[in-house]
Symmetry: C3
Subunit: 339 residues, 3 copies
């Protein structure tokens, strides 16, 4: 049901096909041949659509839905409308993601280089790349196969971009080595000088920033996000990290695998994150901290000390979540007693 001006739907698919695509079990195997033409939300889906239930908040919408089929956790199956075939999955949101990707696949780029793109003669462009209008690709840069470089992107000398990447319009990349299937959103800034200078009353003096940005595979980097290159060591973003819009990542920062960095987070120079760290929106990290794998920081948290693996913290300065909640409660109570 997406606007056809912007999205092209694939399919149709039978329920059997969709169940296989997302690894779900079909509640009514006799319906395996039923045809679905699109995804849609529970409230607006019709008999030709498949929907999903992930959040118990929407259970009434599930019960009332007119969707032709619904992806749902087995435990909630009985709450569905009588007769509606279900795709049972223990991770229904992930299953929905797979089904939606089947209906709306990322189109493979068609080989095309705009006549107004400026590709240096020493750059190597892989097979099947799409290079938009006004793109600039510097000397000795290497672009892997199947990349999509959108209009007015500027890629500096020597940059390496792995296969299957997308660089959004008006983004800039310099001094960077980027893995496969990396998706950089419009306006992101990768690889510029870090904020490095020797402070002094006689004038701050720039310290040359001699490192790079190394980005792993399958990374997403949000719109207008900034990632500075290293000062000497590299700035490193591990495989599978998801970085939202307007995030700042300082020089020498290292993120492990699968970190989730929500919008407007700021990570100061030389922080080292383990794997699967999650930072809520607008959280901030002082420099040179070690944040253990699986640690979580609440939105707007201000982290000024190392965080142990798996720990969840919040507040400024950030403390373990339970303490933070207690602080809020005790402060609230004291204020109320003053009335």
């Amino acid at each position: 049901m997406a606007d056809s001006r912007f999205f092209t739907v694939a399919g149709p698919f039978t329920l059997a096909q969709l169940a296989e695509i997302c690894g779900a079990e079909l509640s009514q195997p006799q319906q395996s041949g039923q045809v679905v033409i699109d995804v849609a939300a529970l409230e607006i889906a019709g008999a030709d659509h498949i929907s999903f239930l992930d959040n118990r908040k929407y259970i009434n919408a599930f019960t009332a839905t007119k969707a032709g089929a619904v992806i749902v956790h087995p435990d909630l199956a009985e709450r569905g409308p009588a007769g509606t075939p279900l795709l049972l999955s223990k991770d229904p949101y992930r299953a929905y993601a797979m089904v939606a990707q089947a209906f709306y696949p990322q189109p493979a780029p068609s080989a095309w280089v705009s006549p107004t793109a400026h590709v240096d003669s020493s750059a190597k462009i892989g097979a099947n790349c799409w290079i938009g209008h006004g793109v600039v690709i510097g000397a000795r840069a290497e672009i892997g196969d199947n990349c999509r470089i959108e209009a007015n992107v500027v890629i500096g000398d020597g940059v390496v971009i792995g296969p299957g990447g997308t660089i959004g319009a008006n983004a800039t990349v310099q001094c960077a080595i980027i893995g496969a299937k990396v998706n950089i959103y419009p306006g992101a800034r990768i690889g510029q000088d870090g904020f490095g200078f020797a402070m002094g009353i006689q004038g701050h003096l720039k310290v040359p920033q001699l490192g790079r940005v190394i980005i792993g595979n399958g990374v997403e980097i949000g719109a207008n996000t900034t990632i500075d290159r290293g000062a000497g060591p590299d700035t490193v973003i591990g495989d599978g990290c998801w970085i939202d819009n307007l995030v700042q990542i300082g020089h020498n920062v290292q993120l492990g695998r699968g970190c989730v960095i929500v919008a407007q987070v700021g990570i100061s120079g030389s922080c080292q994150f383990g794997d699967f760290v999650a930072a809520g929106g607008q959280a901030g990290f002082a420099g040179h901290l070690k944040i253990g794998s699986g640690a979580k920081v609440a939105a707007q948290g201000g982290v000024i000390r190392d965080i142990a693996p798996g720990e969840t913290v919040g507040g400024t300065p950030a403390v373990p979540r339970i303490e933070w909640l207690r602080q809020s409660a005790v402060l609230s109570k004291l204020a109320r007693n003053k009335r």
Copy 2:
């Protein structure tokens, strides 16, 4: 008195003309023919200039001004210099805005398309549009009359921009339907993928973002601000919203009419704002919240629950303003007692 390298002044105007333009009453009708050539601040204005007093802090500057005329609230009229004609208005700042707009009107764009703009042959460009160098306009896009699309802007396939709009240099717009007289500042990012994925240790899996960005009439969107498109539902910005620089608006967010969103605010996915909500700089909103019409959030406030219409909150987690002030006071007192 603006720098003529950057601004072209219209006029001159008589006081009678200006009073009519801004709906003010002339304190000395016999002066209605007096001519004014420009606006200027109270401190620097001369006999040819009109100034204004909006903030009582500057009342001494009013009393001492050499301005040829001053826009002022009737209650403060007597504090002006003897003999200076006044334009009396109950909303002197608004009256000043109208007078300043008369002296410095937004020039209507002249019809021109740069030979280096790339306008798809299937796009429709309205009358009297100005399309700058290096602009890219995608297939089936529709640009209304009297639009100004500045250099190196990238507009995606199918985008609709209403009449009288301005898209600032190097901005990008995709998957969006935009109303009349919308002003998008340089570097803003509209309509890219929202931050939607199924998290998992085996790798986060992207959920296709199938909604749009719908922007009403008369909206301002600040420099380098990011507005993600909806995941399925649309992201909606109501008529007359003013959004400052570096703001993040997540997928599926809905803003009512006339909301004022100050710089660096972050609004997480699926929040619903009523009309005329005001969010102070760097405030943050957790996802899926309902913020009632007329609600106000103090700068840096961290909102994690619904806010009732008209309520004013502050702090993190945000509480009613009066409680927040009390919390600050009690904490400050406790800390002082510890000395």
Copy 3:
């Protein structure tokens, strides 16, 4: 040891040359002819490299280093490996900056204007400027000697840029007068309209923004940072200010000399900063405040009152640092007692 794909090393230099470059004293004058080919970190430096020790945290790395020479404070000289020549400096980080600049000098731009740059015929371009692909330079703009204007930058009518400046790719500059040796990073937005309007239920009304942005000499402005032009007065950035990425500076703000503004700071309209003010990451300033010279604001601090010269504050609302620490301590203790 920087990646030669991105950086070109100068030199080699003798220790005598380097000591002179950075004003250090050579611990072993008999080694003054020893040759160094590059800079490197203590841990990875070899016999051909010079390294430095600035932070006592790394003193073990100093003791164990295999570097050919090390820049260090005289007080720590004895902690170095026996026989390693030292460059003794009371400000070793600054001395390192000078040495690193010698090895990696900013290359002077070579005179070149891309055939796809759009330079208005009335613009003046100085000697030895490098103007990249897709750059737009407006009418009557003046670009000083030795400037580097990177690809897809858009410079508005009448803008003045002093000699030796760099404007990073995809940045935009309008209504601005910029001094010598200013370095604007990719995606920065300089000189767009400030956030000025008369609020009203009948619709917010734009107040024409008639001032400029005036930037001194030797200023750095980070990636995707936004600096609005003045509303009537100018927005002014003093000589030698260092502004990090994603910073918001509102209309009419004035910064003195040498201010250090870390990433994601927001400064509301009409604030006046003295010289050498330091604002930590994500700090915010309400409008119309006076911040005295040498004042410091901790990261995430929320400043809502004037700050005296030299004062250090933190927290929201920001209070003197010592009080802020006490508040955190007392709150933490109260919360602990509740267990």
